[in-house]
Symmetry: C2
Subunit: 215 residues, 2 copies
């Protein structure tokens, strides 16, 4: 539809401006997309804590249709966190990110995390100016999700399999999941973590810190 | 937006026609909405089997953006099943349901189940002519989902908490979940099941059969 095409075009312009601004400030921006309840906030909570322990300056924006529960939960980490409430919109847009950051000095930051609204469809087409997009998929959701939601996997840079601690309980088939991810996005980086037990979180932090040289 | 309002209005007209058609045929229509991976297909698989064991004539329509995996999986129950593939649309519409049923004799059915696309936002506003709308929420998603996605809970008739077998492993707080559902939809019927272990499935079937007197 014409209306939607224009919205997307305008979003791309704003996202490019954001990306320039992030690059100039030297902040590495990571966005997270997933279905509701895949564990974005739990992972972010741990990530903010672990990166702060390394002396890095981190902050987060979190999107939800309603409530500021996630911002309140994440603010306990001591990092600056701001909630974006979208009302009826099932995704974040570059303009919302720009507005939320208006009075922030990005030069003070090493990493900015953007947690999108929990949705495997809507966020796909909206560039937020991020450097890295992570799609999370919990072991409890079933191995077929990449095949059913190919676009969101296609627009992400890494697939993060979460809640690995439940893999045995739900008989998660790791090979099938990898095969399905590979089918929709050949060569995609795949990692498996548990925010609950902490499994593989430190290697994930090492990897993120390593990517920061890109900005 | 004007465009969207017209789409919804047209959908309501078609949904009303479908509801008339369902009523005349004496078929009770149940739709299911949830996030991706909450267990709609697993529950439906069990439900089709259990109702068929009771001598009831059941069928299903299943919606997904891509793949006909779910239809193939459900067809093993022996019930007539048809996949609706929505492409980029994150919800089913009454027109798609009408088209999928075009050559079906609804008089031959007691129950028709419609599994919507996995999404906690998009399906909210689209009436499909169903008699009962079930919103599923798995114990692994977190107790806060009703507060974050109030509209979908508001448009559903019953909240079904799924994957109850994992409740202990994820430290699911049943009271908090009930409180959050109650906050967005006071008096809402809440049931808890496990498709894996079969817990509470027979009472759920009893309840569905009981509701059928409504048509």
């Amino acid at each position: 539809m014409e209306v939607r095409r224009n919205v997307l075009k305008q979003n791309d312009v704003l996202a490019r401006e954001l990306r320039d601004r992030f690059g100039k400030a030297g902040v590495f921006v990571v966005s997270m997309v997933s279905s509701p309840g895949a564990g974005k906030t739990a992972l972010l909570e741990k990530t903010l804590g672990l990166l702060r322990q390394r002396g890095l300056r981190v902050a987060a924006l979190v999107g939800d249709l309603a409530t500021d529960n996630d911002a309140a939960r994440l603010a306990r980490s001591g990092a600056p966190v701001r909630q974006i409430t979208t009302g009826t919109l099932c995704h974040l847009e570059a303009a919302m990110v720009g507005k939320a950051l208006e009075d922030w000095d990005l030069n003070e930051l090493d990493f900015l995390f953007i947690e999108n609204v929990g949705n495997l469809v809507c966020p796909s087409s909206y560039d937020l100016g991020e450097n890295l997009r992570i799609v999370l998929m919990s072991v409890t959701e079933g191995e077929d999700k990449p095949l059913k939601y190919p676009t969101i996997f296609n627009t992400a840079d890494v697939a993060l399999i979460t809640k690995a601690d439940l893999a045995t309980a739900v008989e998660f088939d790791e090979e099938a999941a990898a095969r399905n991810i590979e089918a929709v996005r050949p060569g995609m980086e795949i990692r498996q973590v548990s925010a609950k037990t902490g499994a593989n979180l430190e290697p994930l932090m090492d990897w993120l810190v390593g990517l920061k040289i890109l900005v």
